[in-house]
């Protein structure tokens, strides 16, 4: 009887705990302070993202910066900033979610992404510059 009543007592708690964990799911497993789905978070993120989107479009359409290289640098910096805003405000990535595995896998992916894209561009542009028609000396061709 004791066993069954304990089981009966635990069952609703387990269900509630699970449902609760799923609703806030992303946010935490311990501690109630980390409620992430707030209107304020989303609105702040939305306004920040809108500003960070509007500025690069303005830079390209109005060309306030004369140098193309400087414009590209600013646009890329703004894109990185916007990605971070989306990551924290919309995707709710933080060090506590899923015992930190969310953040670890995110950082790992970012590292792989930089290596894949940066490495490909570096190598291929290097090959391109060594294989431009003007740089090929036919007399030295094998």
């Amino acid at each position: 009887m004791t066993a069954s009543s304990t089981a009966a007592h635990q069952a609703p708690d387990a269900t509630h705990g699970q449902a609760h964990g799923e609703v806030h799911g992303w946010a935490h497993e311990e501690g109630e302070e980390a409620v992430h789905f707030t209107l304020r978070t989303y609105l702040t993120g939305f306004v920040a993202a809108a500003v960070l989107t509007a500025i690069p479009f303005w830079i390209v359409m109005a060309r306030p910066i004369a140098s193309t290289a400087a414009s590209v640098a600013v646009i890329v910096a703004l894109a990185v900033a916007q990605i971070l805003v989306h990551t924290f405000a919309f995707l709710h990535v933080n060090a506590r979610a899923q015992g930190g595995w969310t953040l670890v896998s995110y950082v790992f992916t970012a590292v792989l992404l930089v290596i894949t894209v940066g490495g490909s561009l570096w190598i291929m542009y290097h090959l391109n510059s060594n294989m431009m028609p003007g740089m090929m000396d036919p007399s030295q061709a094998p």
């Binding site: 806030h24 799911g25 789905f37 479009f57 390209v60 646009i75």
Partner: protein, 211 residues
């Protein structure tokens, strides 16, 4: 003996259920969300390779049209705004989900799906326009990379819209069941992830292309 009686009584009183209870119990602790997150990260790597391919081919015009001649930045700005607003409405759906308001969840999800459909519609319009001008994927390496990268993103958004439609049906039939809550959380992660990918697309493909 007592336990058996209690067990039988409990069985007799339990209303019939038509969904699988064990399935939900298998996901205690948010394992599904972490698994889905790792899928998203692998999807990000897929896009990384497409971005790398596009970057390598970004100057291979083969005498064909260049981005400055091809793109209408006003259209891209409109699409970017649509996707950003849809991220907000998706967030509003999640807030309604947290509050347990089924009607608001369905409303915001429907708005999100409409915005997603508008995004895909504008993108298809752009593609059709490009192809009509002769800027087909076969025209140059640059255009192959462009259509592959932007098309893959558009395909993801299309599937996201289908997913929202499925969830609207599920919500109509089952309400805010724990399984549906879990699915909606995954859906919201997927949708926000697509918006992050779009930041890379409009920055590296459109804006830097036109510069």
């Amino acid at each position: 003996m007592t336990m058996t009686v209690v067990g039988e009584a409990a069985v007799a009183e339990t209303p019939p259920v038509f969904y699988q209870l064990d399935e939900a119990a298998a996901h205690v602790g948010g394992g599904t969300l972490l698994g889905f997150w790792i899928y998203l990260m692998s999807d990000a790597l897929l896009f990384a390779t497409l971005f790398a391919t596009f970057g390598v081919l970004s100057a291979n015009f083969a005498g064909g049209p260049t981005p400055r001649e091809l793109f209408d930045l006003g259209l891209v700005a409109a699409n970017t705004a649509i996707l950003l607003v849809s991220a907000l409405t998706c967030g509003l759906a999640m807030i309604a989900l947290q509050a347990g308001r089924l009607g608001a969840v369905r409303l915001w999800l429907a708005v999100t799906a409409l915005l997603g459909a508008a995004f895909v519609g504008i993108e298809l319009h752009e593609f059709r326009h490009l192809i009509a001008e002769g800027a087909t994927p076969q025209r140059s390496g640059y255009l192959s990379g462009f259509f592959t990268l932007v098309g893959t993103h558009g395909l993801h958004v299309t599937l996201g819209v289908v997913w929202i439609a499925v969830m609207l049906v599920q919500l109509g039939q089952r309400g805010l069941h724990p399984d549906n809550r879990r699915r909606l959380l995954c859906l919201s992660l997927f949708w926000h992830f697509l918006d992050v990918i779009w930041i890379g697309v409009f920055t590296f493909v459109y804006l830097i292309g036109v510069l």
